[in-house]
Amino acid sequence: MAFNILIVDDSPAMRRVVKRVVDLSGLDVGNYLEAGDGLQALTVLRAEWVDLVLTDINMPEMDGEELLLEVRKDENLKSIPVLVVSTDQTEARIAQMLALGADGYISKPFAPAALSEELHRLLGGVPDESF
């Protein structure tokens, strides 16, 4: 089964890096979808089938926290796994996002293997050992 993955980050460079790590993780990816903030992400989520959302927190227009809240209260979206990928490494932020319904939290900078493991935990399968 090929997964559709939505990468939400206001940094085009970070979206490229995340996409590259996912490519190398061994997951069977159907489509990569991208959004530069939470509002754009909601538009994509309401138009496309998405199996996993990877989202930053600090973004313009709508941040990752609000995006997570919107996803979790939407009957059609609430079952989609959301993995937060953020520069905020504080215990308070990690606990808050998990309490709001995030399925995982990766702090930037991250080791590619750590992100790969989280992807496989959420979508199934065995991580590529080349990491």
Partner: protein
């Protein structure tokens, strides 16, 4: 909190970010008193192939974080980060990576300061000139890496 207190945190945080996602090693760290050799307190214009970004942080501590690097360092770090050949990178690509580097370095440093408190970072903005920094509220750090010189600065604007 004074900017000078960041001196204990910045090298380790920056070293961790550069090592883990930019595959670059810091060989030497210094803390010059001035950000640039500013002439009579005037701002220093950013050169054609230099990259400078700054962003604000707001939490228990508020302030600004900045990053500056030259063409060689920018191109090398961008290539390492994106996993692409230097020759294939545009100035825009390198600028995007420099902005994300500023974001990650700031996040790593502020996370250490805030500890158990949340904070908010602004979007990194490209700068046209390096500001004049001095006094106890600014800390300048210069890192000599295997890819070139990377300079950061922290300005504390107050506690929330």
């Amino acid at each position: 909190m004074k900017a000078s207190e960041f001196a204990k945190l910045v090298p380790g945080c920056c070293g961790g970010v550069l090592d883990s996602m930019y595959f670059t090693t810091i060989m030497e760290t210094s803390h010059p008193k001035e950000l640039a050799e500013a002439a009579e307190g005037k701002e220093t214009a950013i050169g054609a192939e230099e990259y400078a970004f700054s962003l604000s942080f707001k939490g228990d501590i508020c302030g600004r974080f900045g990053l500056h690097m030259g063409a060689a360092a920018g191109r090398g770090l961008a290539a390492n980060f994106l996993g692409e050949d230097e020759a294939d990178l545009s100035v825009s690509d390198i600028g995007e990576v420099a902005g994300e580097l500023a974001n990650m370095l700031c996040g790593a440093v502020v996370s250490k300061v805030e500890g158990k408190s949340k904070f908010v970072l602004s979007h990194p903005e490209a700068m046209q000139a390096l500001p004049v920094l001095s006094g106890a509220d600014a800390l300048v750090s210069r890192f000599e890496t295997d890819g070139g010189t990377v300079t950061t600065w922290v300005v504390v604007e107050g506690d929330a």
